[in-house]
Subunit: 181 residues, 2 copies
DNA sequence: CATATAAAATAACAAGTGTTACAAAACATG
DNA sequence: CATGTTTTGTAACACTTGTTATTTTATATG
């Protein structure tokens, strides 16, 4: 009775997300998305109320993408802190645009902590251990390490900081050590 | 023999810089600058080859602005490191847009180190002292502290980190202490 | 197969961008 | 004061943006 849908909401979201990943959010335009999806701009506005709704969807996919990235990242370090740091810095290096969208946003979206939400359970467990073994201020410890990791990642994103995985590993372990004592 | 110039290059630059400071670089357009300068767009294109040249000028003023800000910032802390940190974080809090332009740029401009250029002489002197008093790796020490400070400032800019000056002071002193030992 | 109906394409609109051609205005010199 | 030169304003061009009206196309059902 009616024509079959050939460009789905998913397909549009896929294309837009890929563009955000490669060129950043601000370069997503209706016509460019349409071009990469091999269609006109019409299917976009059938599936989404407007470009804002599309970019909101892209943002949500970026959140999910990071959470998967972090979940699947190999945990080779001695401490959850350092594992978190390695993954976070690697994400900043390999996904510069997504890192910017998620963690250095111009318009306030989710906070760092909301994005990490369940992802830091093991880190919190580490804090418990630290508290048990005599650390006075486990919350402060977490904050310090987190600030350091965020700084390393931001500098990686902008290219002000360019260390190998090996060097990053040593750096993070050193710093964790310093903060623990 | 000719009409007197009423809108100078300086005036245009002043207006554009103020706009960058308040709304960020991407919101600077010819018509909006003209409006705030109470003139047409013509004087802009007489003084500048194009908008790129204007925004380049704004960037240079931002660099100078930060350098002045840092030079004039009161040095209340025990160590140059902590003074640098306090100034840098305060700048991120009070000048969010300029901080983003300078230190989290989308298009590569000057590096962090180029912007700070002569500003870290006293910090380097501190490293010398650290080296003299038995620190094995003064370069590494500088890097660690700098990464931490940058992380704190970036989180301040985005609102993920909101501590009073007092708390920031304690945090920085603690961390410097940790890294020195 | 013919047709109704939903989807996609085409094409346009309004708004906003950088930039420029041209006209109006102001002022120092003759 | 008249004049010529420079600055400024007006208005336009070409382009890009989001969005929408309209036409075309494809397909499930009669």
């Amino acid at each position: 009775m009616a024509r079959k849908e050939s460009i789905t909401k998913q397909m549009i979201l896929d294309v837009a997300f890929m563009m955000a990943r490669e060129e950043g959010m601000q370069n997503i335009t209706a016509r460019r998305v349409a071009e990469r999806a091999n269609c006109s701009t019409q299917p976009i506005f059938r599936s989404f109320q407007g470009m804002d709704e599309l970019t909101d969807g892209v943002y949500d996919r970026a959140v999910a993408f990071f959470q998967d990235y972090y979940r699947l990242y190999p945990r080779l370090e001695k401490t959850p802190f350092c594992n978190l740091g390695m993954a976070y810095v690697a994400f900043a290096r390999e996904e510069k645009e997504l890192f910017r969208i998620l963690f250095v946003p111009e318009k306030p979206g989710k906070s760092l902590y909301e994005i990490l939400n369940g992802s830091t359970e093991n880190v919190k467990a580490e804090i418990q251990r630290a508290a048990a073994s005599g650390c006075q201020d486990p919350g402060g410890l977490f904050m310090k390490i987190w600030i350091f990791i965020h700084g390393a990642a931001c500098m990686t994103m902008t290219g002000d900081y360019d260390l190998s995985d090996q060097e990053t590993r040593k750096l993070l372990n050193d710093v964790c050590q310093s903060f623990m004592n």
